[in-house]
């Protein structure tokens, strides 16, 4: 276990070192909620000062990892340190936006799965169909709000709600719908093609039954 000051930005956010921007964003949201002053999860373990110190480090990590250029530079410095892990290293120059004063540790040898990756696996639909209910359950199990998907994908929230509610009559034309479904699937780390095929097939079945 490494003291907070020596944890890499990825360790601080508990995000995989190869994580996509979406995974970094998600890890940050969870970390911020966890260590916020009003958090139910921390108040009995960490003092207000300790939580604030962790939160400052998390903000610092996010400032770098959410910026493509700063993240590239940071990753490059991590890689330079890695081969000589454990050997004192010459401190590398700090990046312009977020100075790092402490020694940069080597990233954990094993890539960590993104938080909740194993939760989503267990929710693969029992009958193989990705309908609105299944998509909602998977989203909730990952701790992702509808609003976050709307922000990332630029899909209007009322469309997202209609998709999850299986309210086929309110959905946009099929060509748009497929695109929306693929984007949602990506946010949930699901197979985009499979989700789009499955959802639209179920939708056609349902309208055929009604006719």
């Amino acid at each position: 276990m490494r003291p907070l000051a020596e944890q890499s930005y990825y360790e601080l956010l508990e995000a995989p070192a190869e994580g996509t921007p979406q995974q970094i964003e998600r890890a940050y949201r969870i970390a911020r909620a966890t260590y916020s002053p009003s958090s139910t999860a921390t108040y009995s373990v960490f003092s207000a000062d300790e939580s604030a110190a962790i939160l400052r480090r998390i903000e610092e990590a996010y400032a770098v990892l959410s910026d493509a250029r700063l993240r590239r530079e940071y990753d490059a410095r991590l890689r330079r340190v890695e081969p000589r892990a454990g050997v004192p290293t010459v401190p590398s120059p700090p990046p312009p936006a977020a100075p790092i004063r402490e020694r940069v540790p080597a990233p954990a040898a094993r890539l960590e799965a993104p938080a909740g990756a194993d939760l989503e696996g267990g929710l693969a639909p029992e009958n193989g169909v990705f309908d609105g209910d299944v998509l909602r359950r998977i989203r909730v199990s990952l701790g992702i709000e509808l609003e976050e998907i709307a922000t990332t994908t630029k899909i209007n929230e009322h469309h997202l709600r209609s998709i999850e509610g299986n309210r086929y009559e309110l959905l946009p034309p099929p060509v748009y719908l497929r695109g929306f479904l693929k984007q949602i699937a990506k946010c949930l780390s699901l197979d985009a093609g499979r989700v789009a095929d499955s959802y639209t097939a179920r939708m056609r079945e349902s309208s055929a039954r009604r006719d």
């Binding site: 003291p3 969870i30 921390t42 267990g122 989203r139 909730v140 701790g143």
Partner: protein
């Protein structure tokens, strides 16, 4: 009382908590050795018995031979979740008081095929405390039960017997609800279990004294986190420090959050695992959550497991998911 020998949970064996839920663990299990789960969580009334009854029902219906042990000796009620009347039937106290020698004979049938139950000691001598010897004998007998899976339903709180059963299990589950009180007790439970395992793994008397001091959160030595403790131990003895790290690596309880109402509360599970990582340095496995579901209290009132009474409910879906994740069935 002096402990003799090494507790079995210190040796590496099949189903070490570091490797839960993998199919090959189950396959590698000799047919005569039961896998043991223990479900605890510190606070009462958070759904431990509900969870145990439903996990067991799912496992039994998938073809496993399952035996439940109601280890809540002072407040046994698991039988009611399964629709079994306890009355004056044979119970764990008959085994502890040596009226019955063969533990298998204490396990009574339930309405669910493949699922048997060892009743808690309710209504007998009223003795809720067990001795270390009684617990060791019980655990030895449990390993020899003709079952694929044995699940302990633990009492609330952090009694020594509760923590011992938890640590002895191949998979230990900590249940909480999203309420601050339940979460606080879940941390207390994890903390007690972690320090108990640590105290048994380390032998240097100075180090053990240090652990005793550290268990008091407001100790004078300024040891606030297990990280501080590790640093202090390494100053005394490097080898003991290595043993400490080994405990950290192999201690991997599962977390279940019950009565979840929204996405915020799902995230509570991620937050708790994060705190455990940053505070204890231990990896907790977020095994899953169970959503708040009116069908749950309906099923408890009906005295039938939710997964049988309302198999298509959300709650039942989430229970099945946890079993699938751990047993691969």
């Amino acid at each position: 009382m002096r402990r003799t020998g090494t507790p079995s949970w210190l040796s590496i064996r099949r189903g070490e908590p570091g490797l839960p839920g993998r199919d090959d663990d189950v396959v590698a299990t000799p047919p005569s050795v039961a896998r043991i789960w223990a479900v605890g969580g510190g606070k009462g009334g958070i759904g431990k018995s509900f969870l145990v009854a439903n996990l067991a029902t799912v496992a039994a219906r998938s073809g496993k031979r399952v035996i439940l042990i109601d280890a809540d000796l002072g407040g046994a009620n698991l039988h009611t979740c399964l629709g079994v009347r306890a009355g004056e039937r044979i119970s764990l106290s008959d085994y502890f008081e040596e009226r019955v020698v063969d533990l298998d004979k204490v396990a009574i049938e339930t309405p669910i095929p493949g699922l048997r139950l060892i009743l808690g000691a309710l209504g007998h001598t009223g003795k809720a405390e067990t001795t270390q010897e009684q617990r060791s004998a019980l655990l030895k007998a449990v390993r020899r039960l003709p079952a694929d899976l044995v699940i302990f339903d633990l009492a609330a709180g952090t009694d020594r017997s509760t923590i011992d059963f938890f640590l002895e299990a191949d998979d230990g589950f900590v249940v909480t609800t999203p309420e601050p009180t339940a979460i606080e007790n879940a941390y207390a439970f994890l903390r007690a279990a972690f320090y108990r395992r640590l105290a048994a793994a380390l032998s240097d008397s100075n180090v053990r004294e240090l652990i005793r001091v550290a268990m008091d959160q407001r100790n004078e030595r300024g040891i606030r986190t297990p990280g501080d403790l590790l640093a202090a131990i390494e100053r005394i003895d490097r080898a003991e420090g290595d043993r400490f790290r080994r405990v950290l690596e192999t201690f991997r309880p599962h977390l279940v959050v019950n009565q979840v109402r929204d996405t915020e509360e799902v995230k509570m599970g991620f937050s708790i695992t994060s705190v455990c990582k940053k505070y204890f340095g231990i990896d907790i496995d977020y095994a899953g959550y169970i959503c708040f579901d009116d069908n749950v209290w309906r099923s408890v009132k009906d005295r039938r497991p939710l997964v049988l009474a309302y198999p298509r409910s959300d709650g039942a879906l989430y229970v099945r998911r946890i079993v699938k994740k751990l047993l691969g069935t």
